[in-house]
C-alpha cells in the first residue's frame, strides 16, 4: 500500500514539473513508464489488490456423464470410490457439539465457490440428480418403509435434497421407481349416467341457433297503438320514411322502442 502511495506521489511530481527547468529524475520518469526503476529489484508488474485481478482457478471441465448420468453408476471409477455401499455412507458433517443441527447447509456452491467438506452429491462432479438414474435415487430411499431419507441422516445439502425429492417424484410418475399406492375401495355409485347433469338435455325451446336469450335483445315489432300515438304527437316533425315499420338501419340512431 505504501509502495502504491509512493508510486502515485512520483507520478504527481513528474507530471507537475514541466518545461526546461525540470529535474533530471523527473524527465527520466516522464520518458519511462510509471514504474520506479531505481531502488526496487525487478518484479512482476504491480497489481492493486482487487477481486477482479486476483488469479482465478481454471473452470472445471464438464463431466463426461452429463448426458447419461446413469452410466456413471456402473463404471469402474464409481466401484473404486464407493463399492457396493451408498454414496452418502461414511460422510461426516462438521458441526459444533454432539447434536447436529436439524437442517444441513443450504447449498454447497455459494457464489461460485465450493465450501469445505461438500455434501456427498456435490463432492463428486459425475453424480447428477436425474429422474432416470434410478440407482442413485434408490440410495436415498429407505428400503424398509419407502420414505425419502432425511438430510441429517445422509448429509446432503438442502438444495440437493430438494432436487432429489423432485427427481424421485418424477421417477415415480414415470413408473421407474416403486411407489406405495394406498388402497382405494371400489366406488359404490350409480354408473347409469342418466342424470341431466351428465346425460343429454334437450335444448331450450326458445333457444333456436342464432337467437338471443332475452327477446328484447333483438328488434321487435312495436305495438301499432304506440306507433300511432307517437305519430300524432310529432306530426309536424316527422321525416318522410319509405318503410316506417321496418327495423332501424344500423347507421340511424335507435330511439324509442
Amino acid at each position: 500500500m505504501a509502495l502504491a502511495g509512493g508510486v502515485a506521489l512520483l507520478r504527481l511530481a513528474a507530471g507537475g514539473l514541466r518545461g526546461p527547468g525540470s529535474l533530471l529524475w523527473a524527465q527520466h520518469s516522464r520518458d519511462a513508464t510509471a514504474t520506479p526503476t531505481t531502488s526496487l529489484p525487478p518484479q512482476a508488474p504491480l497489481r492493486f489488490c482487487s477481486r477482479q485481478d486476483a488469479p482465478q482457478p481454471p473452470p472445471a471441465p464438464p463431466s463426461p456423464y452429463q448426458e447419461q448420468p446413469w452410466e456413471y453408476l456402473e463404471s469402474e471409477e464409481y466401484h473404486l470410490l464407493y463399492g457396493a455401499s451408498p454414496v452418502w455412507l461414511g460422510y461426516r458433517r462438521n458441526h459444533k457439539g454432539a447434536v447436529p443441527p436439524q437442517r444441513t447447509r443450504k447449498a454447497c456452491l455459494r457464489r461460485g465457490k465450493r465450501v469445505g467438506n461438500p455434501c456427498p452429491i456435490c463432492r463428486d462432479p459425475n453424480l447428477h440428480v436425474h429422474f432416470r438414474n434410478v440407482k442413485l435415487l434408490d440410495q436415498f430411499i429407505c428400503p424398509h418403509s419407502g420414505v425419502i431419507l432425511h438430510p441429517t441422516h445422509t448429509g446432503v445439502c438442502m438444495k440437493q435434497h430438494k432436487l432429489l425429492t423432485k427427481a424421485i417424484e418424477q421417477a415415480q410418475d414415470h413408473g421407474l421407481l416403486w411407489l406405495q399406492v394406498p388402497y382405494v375401495p371400489v366406488p359404490r355409485e350409480d354408473f347409469s349416467n342418466q342424470h341431466p347433469a351428465i346425460g343429454r338435455t334437450p335444448p331450450a325451446p326458445a333457444l333456436a341457433p342464432g337467437s338471443y336469450w332475452y327477446p328484447w335483445y333483438e328488434w321487435q315489432q312495436p305495438p301499432a297503438a304506440a306507433v300511432a300515438r307517437l305519430r300524432r304527437l310529432y306530426k309536424g316533425f316527422l321525416k318522410e320514411e319509405a318503410r316506417p315499420d321496418a327495423p332501424p338501419a344500423p347507421s340511424a340512431e335507435p330511439k324509442g322502442e
Binding site: 413408473g175 394406498p182 333457444l207 342464432g210 338471443y212
Partner: protein
C-alpha cells in the same frame, strides 16, 4: 392372503388383550374387510362424451380472454349428479366434458391416491417400463385409484395390463380384486389359468372356470359337446383339453396327477 404386508413407517407393535367375544368380533370384522378388498370393480362400457350446449350468447364474444368453469360444490350431491358448466370466450355456455369434470371434482373434493392431472405412467411408452419390472398389480391399483371405471383411459390401461400380465403368468393368483376380470381375457389364456387353478384350488374352481367360459363363448366346440353330453367335473375338463389345442399336455398331466391323488385317498 388378501392382507399382504405393506411397506410403511416403522412403528412399535401394538398388543391387545381381548376376551373370546372380542376376538370373534375382531375376526368377523377382518373377514368383512377382506370381502370388501376382494369386491371387484365394475366392468362398464366407455362413457359417451358430453357435448350439450345450454346457451349461446353472441353478445359476450370478445369480452373475456379466458374460459370460466362453474362447479356446484354442494357437499351432499353425488359426483355423478353435480352440474359443471363452462362459459367459453365466444359466449357459449356448455356442459363440461368428462375430463374437465374429473379434474374439477378432484380439485374441490380431493380423493386419496388420485391426481388432478393423470400421471405420465399411463401413457403407452411408460407402461412398458413398469411391465419390465413385473409390477402389474401395483399398476392396476393405481389405475383404479386414478380413473373412473367407465372412463376410456381406465378401460385401455386395465385391459392392456391384464392381457400382458396373463401372458407372463403374473396375475394368476386369486387374492386380488381383479381375478374375475382375468376371466374376461380367457380366449387366449384359459389353459394356463386352468392348469394353475386346478393345481392350487382344486376341481371345483376349474369346473366353474370352464362353465364361465362356456357362458361367454357358447359357440366354441367344447361348449357344444358339454351341452350335448351334460358332462360334469373331470369329464368336462377332459373334453375341454381335447378340443383346445394349446397346452393340452399340461392339462392331461394335471388330470393324471389329480386322479392318482384321488385313487390314493380313496384307497387309504
Amino acid at each position: 392372503k388378501v392382507f399382504k404386508p405393506v411397506k410403511m413407517e416403522l412403528k412399535p407393535p401394538k398388543y391387545k388383550l381381548m376376551t373370546e367375544a372380542q376376538l370373534e368380533e375382531a375376526t368377523r370384522k377382518a373377514i368383512e374387510e377382506a370381502k370388501e378388498k376382494l369386491r371387484m370393480p365394475p366392468v362398464l362400457k366407455e362413457r359417451e362424451p358430453i357435448d350439450d350446449v345450454l346457451a349461446e350468447d353472441k353478445f359476450l364474444e370478445g369480452t373475456e380472454t379466458t374460459k370460466y368453469v362453474f362447479t356446484d360444490t354442494t357437499y351432499s350431491v353425488p359426483h355423478r349428479e353435480r352440474f359443471i358448466v363452462v362459459r367459453e370466450t365466444n359466449g357459449v355456455l356448455r356442459k363440461a366434458t368428462w375430463e374437465e369434470r374429473d379434474r374439477m371434482i378432484q380439485i374441490f373434493f380431493p380423493k386419496e391416491g388420485r391426481r388432478v392431472i393423470p400421471p405420465v405412467v399411463f401413457k403407452d411408452e411408460n407402461l412398458v417400463a413398469v411391465f419390465q419390472q413385473d409390477r402389474h398389480e401395483d399398476l392396476l391399483n393405481r389405475c383404479i385409484a386414478q380413473f373412473e371405471p367407465d372412463s376410456p383411459d381406465y378401460i385401455r390401461v386395465s385391459s392392456l395390463v391384464i392381457s400382458l400380465g396373463l401372458e407372463r403368468s403374473r396375475l394368476i393368483s386369486g387374492d386380488h380384486r381383479l381375478c374375475v376380470h382375468t376371466c374376461f381375457f380367457i380366449p387366449y389364456r384359459l389353459p394356463a389359468i386352468l392348469v394353475i387353478s386346478f393345481v392350487c384350488c382344486g376341481l371345483d374352481d376349474a369346473t366353474s372356470l370352464i362353465t364361465l367360459y362356456h357362458m361367454l363363448h357358447p359357440e366354441c366346440p367344447s361348449a357344444k359337446e358339454t351341452k350335448e353330453g351334460n358332462l360334469q367335473g373331470v369329464d368336462m375338463i377332459k373334453v375341454f383339453a381335447n378340443t383346445e389345442s394349446q397346452k393340452e399336455g399340461y392339462i392331461q398331466l394335471a388330470l393324471q396327477a389329480y386322479e392318482e391323488t384321488m385313487a390314493t385317498s380313496t384307497a387309504s
